[in-house]
């Protein structure tokens, strides 16, 4: 045990480890907070699709020389605006979302083929590489997280109302389409951030995992949101430590830990429910 702690304090001597820890914290925080509403709205698949669209954006960003994150953010936000504008029928269609995400993945592959460092870039975008975050990127991530959380706070009440009772919310004067478009944009940002840690293929992990567990335990919104964020950030820290100690990737540990926690939470709450 002492050995592990020595290992961790040794690790923290390195700038890249500290940067990874800080980047991981802000990304996980935003993903878990936004994800709470994604799970409540049952739009997990749309979140997943934004990850794949982000892949095309990231690859285009690499080809254009902007870097993956700006490319991903740009295309994600355009896609989010489109999804919001197209309305409920498209948002709830598995077929339309499925077709779009596979097209986006194909488009990303096309961009990658134009680029020399094909394999390395692809792996980084698909599975993330939190250890490669530079201090400059860190400030950008922090700014995006603050922006995303402020956006969520502004949208908070109409978003929750529109999620639980859309028709009623509309009758009370909530602009449903505006609220849903703005929320899609927040999801777009959260997805782009989360994919820096775990990659576009595993965005689901940080977006859906923590709130799915939190919703099993919390009956009210604020505690649920707080637990979701705590789980997201906690799992990210634990994954970084485990990755450092075992030399296995963060993108293995984060989904594995969340999967195990989810099974445990399901087993626990199931027993409570029958008691």
């Amino acid at each position: 045990m002492a050995n592990i702690f020595t290992n961790i304090s040794d690790a923290l001597q390195y700038d890249f480890v500290r940067a990874a820890l800080e980047a991981g914290t802000v990304c996980a925080l935003l993903a878990a907070a936004v994800g709470y509403f994604v799970v409540l709205r049952q739009m997990a698949f749309a979140g997943h699709a934004l990850g794949h669209i982000g892949f095309a954006g990231a690859c285009a960003g690499v080809v254009l020389g902007w870097g993956p994150l700006p490319g991903m953010l740009a295309l994600n936000i355009v896609a989010a605006a489109g999804m919001g504008a197209l309305g409920k029928r498209v948002q709830e269609s598995d077929l339309i979302i499925g077709m779009t995400l596979s097209f986006a993945l194909g488009l990303g592959t096309f961009f990658l083929a134009m680029f020399r460092g094909y394999a390395g870039q692809a792996t980084t975008i698909l599975f993330g590489n939190i250890l490669a975050v530079s201090p400059g990127q860190l400030w950008g991530m922090l700014a995006l997280t603050v922006f995303g959380l402020l956006g969520l706070l502004v949208l908070f009440r109409p978003l929750l109302f529109a999620t639980l009772e859309p028709e009623l919310a509309q009758a009370k004067g909530v602009p449903l389409r505006l609220v849903s478009t703005l929320f899609y944009m927040l999801v777009a940002v959260a997805v782009a951030m989360a994919s820096q840690i775990v990659g576009v293929l595993l965005v689901f992990t940080l977006l859906i995992g923590p709130p799915a567990i939190a919703l099993r335990f919390c009956r009210t919104v604020w505690p649920g949101l707080a637990l979701s964020v705590a789980i997201g950030v906690g799992v990210t820290w634990a994954s970084l430590v485990l990755a450092y100690v075992t030399d296995d990737p963060v993108s293995f540990w984060a989904p594995t830990l969340l999967f195990v926690f989810y099974l445990l939470s399901a087993a626990l709450t199931r027993r409570n429910r029958h008691a």
Partner: protein
């Protein structure tokens, strides 16, 4: 000055897509009336409620709510939508749901405070739902969920309640309980109730009048005025028979297929 009636329909026409849902319908509903809104599936009962909420424009004529045209955000009118199956899976509690509805039309965020807690307590008390208000939705029975949903419509003390199929998926005993609660509120608070259902029988004892929607038209009147063979034949454009057995009413088409009886258990 005497107060304007709760709801006035003037030669109202409503369209859904290309077809007329309701044409040339006129009628007045006074404050404190309990009106059953009946008719077959897809006849336009929900469309009529949506028009009263300002969610869809009228094609012809007008609706007046206490003398004003329908508009979104009207505080005098409350709405209990049909139960969404999505919410049945929710692990949020009824109380959390009511908090979300109470001030969900305002931007930004807010915590709870004693004033809001009191409003929610009152609404839960009115429908006798305090015992299960803190349990998650996904463990509640159908009747309990409907009562939480009804409590939602009472927030802010509205003067008109539009209830869309509150009896759906309830067994006869739970149906009776819910009707008694609504009737009590209507009677005590002088609230006007429009209660959408399939079957007049559970409601016969409490309704003042019936608004029947069928065949692209609507009729408003007492149970006997509207639910008789002649009036329904006119509405449906096909020969209809109304049979009475003790205090039960059965509505049949000429081909002997029951229109109403036993329809209240089916799924949507």
């Amino acid at each position: 000055m005497t107060e304007a009636p709760a709801i006035v329909f003037k030669q109202l026409g409503l369209r859904y897509g290309d077809h007329d849902v309701i044409a040339d319908f006129s009628g007045t509903i006074e404050g404190g009336e309990f009106v059953a809104v009946l008719g077959p599936n897809g006849a336009g009962k929900s469309t009529l409620l949506r028009a009263m909420l300002g969610l869809m424009p009228s094609h012809a004529g007008s609706i007046e709510i206490f003398g004003h045209g329908p508009h979104r955000g009207c505080t005098q009118i409350a709405y209990m939508p049909q139960w969404r199956s999505q919410n049945s899976a929710s692990s949020l509690s009824g109380r959390a749901y009511l908090h979300a509805v109470l001030d969900g039309h305002q931007w930004g965020f807010a915590g709870r405070n004693p004033a809001k807690n009191e409003i929610i307590h009152e609404a839960l008390h009115a429908v006798d739902a305090e015992a299960f208000a803190d349990r998650p939705f996904n463990v509640l029975s159908g009747g309990e969920r409907q009562r939480i949903s009804l409590a939602q419509s009472l927030l802010g003390r509205p003067r008109i309640l539009l209830l869309d199929e509150p009896l759906l998926n309830l067994d006869p005993r739970r149906q009776g309980e819910l009707i008694d609660i609504v009737h009590g509120i209507c009677h005590r608070e002088k609230v006007t109730v429009l209660f959408v259902g399939h079957d007049i029988n559970p409601l016969t004892k409490v309704v003042d009048r019936v608004l029947y929607v069928a065949g692209g038209r609507a009729a408003l009147g007492s149970v006997d005025e509207v639910i008789n063979s002649e009036s329904l034949t006119n509405l449906y454009h096909t020969p209809m028979k109304v049979l009475r057995l003790e205090d039960m009413v059965f509505i049949l088409a000429e081909d002997q297929r029951t229109i109403e009886h036993g329809e209240h258990f089916h799924q949507h």
